[in-house]
Every structure is written in C-alpha cells, then in structure tokens.
C-alpha cells in the first residue's frame, strides 16, 4: 500500500514536470514562426542521395518539393549517375563551401517575418544596416586582409554592381581627359571589358591591357586601372602597374581570403572591392562591399547605388549579417580552415595528375607567409590556368572539349587561345568529374607517347 502511494506520488510529480516542460518549451503553443520552421525542416529532410538538394522554392510534385540534382546526376533522389557526362569547369561558382553551411545549419539560419524592414530606408536614412557595416569591419580585423579603420564602406549587388559603380564614380568628372581609359593586366576577368563596353558611357572606355600604357600614363590622359589580386584567372598576387596623378586604381580583392591565397598583409588601397560569393560561397545572395578612402568617391558610389537599384534588399543584409557571424566564429578558424583544406586537397590531386603531362601545364605559384594561418603556405587558387603546350593545340578549349571538359576560353581573358581557365571551386561532384576527365586526357597522352 505504502509502495503504491509512493509510486502514485512519483508519477504525479512526473506528470507535473512533464506539463511544465511542455509549456516552457512551447510544445503546445502555436507560435507564429512554427509553420515556416516546419516547412523548412520538412524540405531539408528530403533525401537527394548527397548529389542534389530540395529547396523551399523548388518545383512541387505530390505536395513535396522535388530534388534538384547536381550536374551528371538524375532520378527522383539524384542517385543515377549519367554516363558520358560533360565535366563543366566553366563557372567560378564556389559551391565547395556548401557542406560547411549544411554542417552549421542551426547557427546560420535566419527567420524573416513578413513585416521585417519593409521601409525603403533604415531609420537614419541610409541603405546599409549599421550592424552589418560593423560586422564587415570586424571580419577584416579577424582575417587581417584589409584595413577598414577610417575608411568608408558601400555595399552592392555583388562585386558586379560595385565594379561598375567604381568605374563610373572614378570617371565622373567631365574634363578634357574624358573619357577615362579603363585598363587591366592580361589575363583579366572578362566582366571588366564586357561591362564597360555594355554601358557605353561617354565617361569611360575599355582600352585593354595595362602594359601598353606603362610609363605613358601622364601624357595619355586619365586612367582607371583594375587590379585583381589574387588574379582571376591565374591566382597571382598583383600590384598596380600605372602610377601618376591621372591614374585611379580599383583593387578587386574577391579572392583575397585564406581559402585561396596566403594573406601576407592587410591590403590598404584607395578603393578595394570584396564579395560574399568567394568568401562564404553565397553567389546567389548578390552581396559585395567596397572599402573606400576618399569621401568624394564614396559619395559618388552611394549616388550610383541609389540611382541603380536603391540599395541591397533588407532580407539579404539580415542573412549576410548572420553568415558573417558564423564565418568569424572561433576567429574564423572553422570556415577558413574548412575551405582551405578542400582547396588544398583538390590542388594536390590536380598537380599529381598534371605532373606526368607534357601536353598540358598549369600555373606554378610561390609559397608565401600567411599572417592568418601564421605559417608559410602554398596558394590554392580558385582556378587552374591551363596551357596547351603543343604547337598544334592552338585552341586549347577545343582540345578539352573533345574530351568532354568545359573550361573558359583564354581569349575571353585577353590571353592566347592556348590557355583555358578551369574552375576548382564547384561542388565535390563537379571536381571529381573534372579530375577523372583530366586523368583520362593525361593518360591518353602518355599512351600515345608510348606507342
């Protein structure tokens, strides 16, 4: 009897505890975030065999978003490997960082209520969140790749929008030297030329390779030099070539992060452009920032943003704020080491493959001290800059294409056609295919040589 009474008491206490637990955890309470959270969890739980992913805004079949498969995979769960698939190494889409964000889903997720920041402007009339601006400054302090103290910051729709805003702002002085001559050292990122030509402004004109104008700058009018460091496509750390009062310089530092290069010292240039795409892998978020010394240039770039798109979406700014917080957790060690490990591994595999080839070569880069890693490191750039060494292989991209490899044609970078840029930053699946095809190409060469 006494035992049963004790058991009853215990059971009732347990009941009480369970009730309290349910209420304190909101298990029975319908909160306004619940539906959206349940939708997100449901979509995340859909299995796509590790070769694809379902998204909240994907196509729906039987009430369920369907898997979107990686290149070379198909089937409802992306489990079918397509034979003879082309290895696409064209785009510099840094999906190699996706696994990091899958692993950090809990800390990097945001909830955006329907009423979040509906207004055109923040309360101070600006188009940039104070918190985000300060987070960007903290990020550079942690990584040590750029000076931000006393500098202005403008955000934009990726480096894409900022590059044009910078060219526009540096050339927007209607004087006798107009139009400004926009130049870049060969091989250069193709968008510099495409964009400058496309907008067809009275104020600036793309004039190709910087080296043509070396030592001639003063006599030949106003120049805007685009400097990419590390360079896209070849990964070299670069310095400005032109000097003089009539020369303005834009430093595109998209790849100046420890995944891709040793970071010897914080960059401290007049106008530096960075992008989230290459930092965290979120190319789809269209977010970049410029760090600017001169206030007048800063003001002109703000006007550009205002008349071009009236700023960057507030939901994007909220998301970027969260992503940057995760990126600098543990002083950035987690994300940058994750990214560097993957890139290093890919470079080791690619170099091993290329070592036996005489027909193809890739760039060689010197190890340097990386202040972030506190040691000497070999560069692990985003792209292999492949050269076809045989006299007859004038169109190197065509040679690769015949072996089902798609790269980006050297001529687009203002270089010879015997160069091709191969992207090493895409998904694991993409890199695996590229490596497989490259191995076949090199082994075919060696077989031919053995005939």
């Amino acid at each position: 009897m006494a035992t049963i009474t004790i058991l009853l008491s215990c059971s009732m206490v347990l009941n009480l505890l369970l009730f309290v637990s349910i209420y304190s955890h909101g298990g029975w309470e319908q909160s306004w975030t619940e539906t959206a959270a349940a939708e997100a969890e449901f979509v995340a739980s859909i299995s796509c065999s590790g070769h694809g992913r379902a998204f909240l805004d994907g196509s729906i079949l039987d009430g369920k978003p369907v898997c979107e498969c990686n290149a070379c995979y198909a089937g409802p769960h992306c489990s079918v490997l397509l034979p003879g698939c082309i290895a696409d190494a064209d785009s510099g889409d840094p999906m190699f960082l996706e696994p990091f964000w899958l692993k950090h889903a809990a800390s990097s997720t945001i909830v955006v209520p329907g009423w979040h920041r509906m207004s055109y402007e923040f309360n101070d009339g600006s188009l940039l969140s104070n918190q985000l601006e300060s987070q960007i400054r903290t990020l550079h302090a942690v990584v040590g790749n750029a000076v931000t103290d006393g500098r202005y910051i403008v955000i934009g729709g990726g480096a894409t929008q900022l590059l044009h805003a910078a060219v526009h702002s540096l050339s927007a002085t209607n004087d006798r030297f107009s139009p400004a001559r926009v130049v870049a050292s060969t091989p250069y990122y193709p968008v510099y030329r495409e964009q400058t030509e496309f907008f067809n402004s009275k104020d600036y004109k793309f004039e190709g390779d910087t080296s043509v104008y070396k030592n001639k700058s003063v006599s030949q009018g106003k120049f805007i030099e685009l400097v990419t460091s590390p360079n896209n496509p070849d990964g070299k750390l670069k310095k400005a070539v032109l000097q003089g009062l009539s020369v303005k310089t834009i430093h595109d530092l998209a790849y100046y992060w420890p995944h891709y290069t040793p970071v010897p010292t914080p960059a401290d240039e007049d106008l530096m452009i960075f992008t989230l795409s290459k930092l965290t892998g979120h190319g789809g978020s269209r977010f970049g920032w410029a760090i600017i010394k001169d206030e007048a240039v800063y003001q002109r770039m703000l006007t550009y943003m205002s008349l071009s798109t009236y700023g960057v979406p507030r939901e994007t700014q909220l998301r970027v704020l969260k992503l940057l917080k995760v990126a600098i957790e543990e002083q950035g060690k987690e994300m940058f080491n994750f990214g560097y490990r993957i890139m290093r591994n890919r470079w080791i595999k690619l170099r091993k493959t290329m070592l036996t080839s005489k027909r193809f070569s890739i760039q060689e880069l010197e190890p340097q001290n990386c202040s972030f890693a506190r040691k000497v490191r070999e560069p692990t750039p985003a792209f292999a800059w492949l050269k076809c060494e045989r006299e007859e292989d004038k169109d190197c991209n065509a040679v690769l294409h015949s072996m089902n490899i798609t790269g980006r044609h050297g001529s687009l970078f203002g270089a010879e056609s015997r160069y091709v840029r191969l992207s090493l930053v895409k998904r694991e699946d993409d890199f695996d295919w590229l490596l497989k095809r490259m191995k076949m190409l090199v082994s075919q060469e060696n077989n031919d040589a053995g005939d």
Copy 2:
C-alpha cells in the same frame, strides 16, 4: 487500495501520453530552426508602444535589440511624442501596409537555411525562380491588371533597376538616330530624368516633356516615352502620347493596383514595369518585374541584369514568393481591401480638410469602374498633388515648410513650383501628423480671411 491502483494506472497512462506528446511536438528535440525562430519571436515580442519596432538586425542594448521609433516619437519604448515635430510627407514609402503583415505574421514568415540556394544560378541556368515567375503570372490573373500570357518576365532590383534596363535595352541599337530621346509627360517621376542623366550614355538622352514632341516624332529621330499610369505625382490614368515606328514606350505601372486606382482593364502594353514596393509595401526588398512582348528586348534586358548585378538575391526571391502567396489569398480580397480601406479613409479626411481652403487645392479624379472590386470607385492615389492657388505663393514647398510640412517640390517633377507632392502612403503616425498640420494651415487661412 483499488482506488489508489486505478489512480496510479491513470497517472502512468498520462505520463506516457505526455512523453509521446513531447516527442511528437519536438519539445525536447533540438531542431536546427529552433535558435533562429526563438530569436525572431523574442525580437517581435519587444514592445515599442505601437510607434516603433525592434528588428533582428537592430542595435543591441543590454543584450536586447532596441526599439526604432517612428518619426516624431522617442524614448526606449517610443512612447514619447516629440512636440513641434515636422510632418514629413516627402517619400512614397508605403508603410501603410505594415499592419497587414503584422496581422499575417504566421503565413508570411520565411525560414532561410544557411545553405539555401548558394549557387549563382538556378539549376536551369537562369537567375529567376520558376515558382516565383509563375506566382507573378497568377497574381496578375487574380487582380486582372495586366496580360501575362505569352509575355516574357524579367525581375530586377525594384522598378529603379528595371527602368534603366528598359531605357538601355530600347536604345541599344547604334544607328543614325542615336542617341534616343527619352521623354515623359509633365509632371513626371523625377528618377526618369535623374537616372538617364546620371548614366551619361552615348545611346540615350533625357529630353523632358513629351508634349513638345507630339506630332513631330517621325521627323525628329528615335523616342523612348515613359508613361506612368496612374501617374506619379497626380494619380491620373495615362496613355502614351507619341506614336510611330521610331517610338518605343515603357509603361511604369507601379501604382496600377486596387489600393490606389480603379483597375478598368488588364494592361497590355509592349513593356510594363511593376514593383513589390507599392503592391505589398516592401520597398526595402528591392524587387520589381517587367512584362515584355518582344523577345529581343527581353534578351537585352536579361543581359543588362546579368552585367549590372547578376540577378536578384535568392533570399529575396524566396521571400517575395511567400509574400505574393499571402497577397492573393482569398483572391486578393484581404490585402487589397485592407489597403484600399486605409487609403480611402485618408483621402476622405484630407478632402474634408481641403474643402474649406481657397489657398490650397488638390487634384480631383473621376470615379471609374474597377473590374477587381466589381464596382465604380473613386481613385485613392498614393499622393496628393497640392497646388498653392494664391499668386504670391509661387514656391508652394516653402509655404508648407514654414508650417513644418515637408513635401516634394513640384519643380522636381518638371512642373511649376506652386505644386507640391504630399505622400499619403506612409505610416499612420506620419499621416496623422500631416493631417494635423494641414488642418492648422487651412484653419489659419480661414482665421486670416475672417480678420
């Protein structure tokens, strides 16, 4: 004894049920959306007295985001009314719709995982979500304000980006009629002039009021006419003025929604631009779309988007998809009726105030049949187009300013300085201040007249 045993059994069954409940509701299970949801719920719960709001990316004090107060309010909970505050009716920021989204928080919230759509492109290589495109078409079908069947859709960073993309795309044919003459009927939206002049292209030039070129179009080269309907600032439904083979027309239909105007018939123009800002009130999301008949123009606008920003952020597209789903719930009745009720109420109050004034007048618009509301309705436009009627009140904005009212100067719209645009779409607090000040202005006039 038997009673206690039964009680024990009941208690144990209850224990079991409570355990099951906890597990099935995930009360003890740490799901990856939990932290973000808890953060969002916490911020939403911060009280700002109905005159402000706390946001997830707001400044932090004592570990809590602080209230951001509406104009004319201050204090930690925005409960302090600032005396002598200026009634700011300058910006067309449609915050009058914020209460709708607060009411529909549960259905309009999104959860964005860190790994959501990181890639530069959707799986089909495009920069526009299929689901979103189809949602936009459904929206127009429900409202009946635009034909989308067989038309192309391009999205951009608000109408701002699309307007320039359209001008660029329609003028991008280097021929003997270059540069194209960009015109708009006075009074026109100031951004047309500002933007076209700012980009300083070789291909187009802003040439002011359309009426100057009426009946002269063929002989005077290539024209791009911007038609705003209902017009910003005066709310009139407008048609194109210029005709002819060398004339291209851009229809800015930002306000062609049932909140602001009777919608007599679905618009079916060559190039129509819409924006989320005026539809749902989300100006901060920088989202607009163009509906285009001609495939070549569509392709040129896609290229513009690609070289300008490389598309609209994926988190924005996800959010817009969700917002549009809510907007068309119950065939759009909830949101459009909510918006219309507020606007109608504001117009009734403003007209009543203006009725006794001889010094000031506002535009009068004819009632028309609205196919969405299925009845004849008076227009309820976003702006009052105020005129100072006295000879000596040449600078009407200065007159208003002396009474602590800020409007937008008529000269910016290419109109006389005796006109001022007053925004009626801002928050309830802003409208209340404007009305109060207008009442004072009119009552002062009547007192003066009675002297």
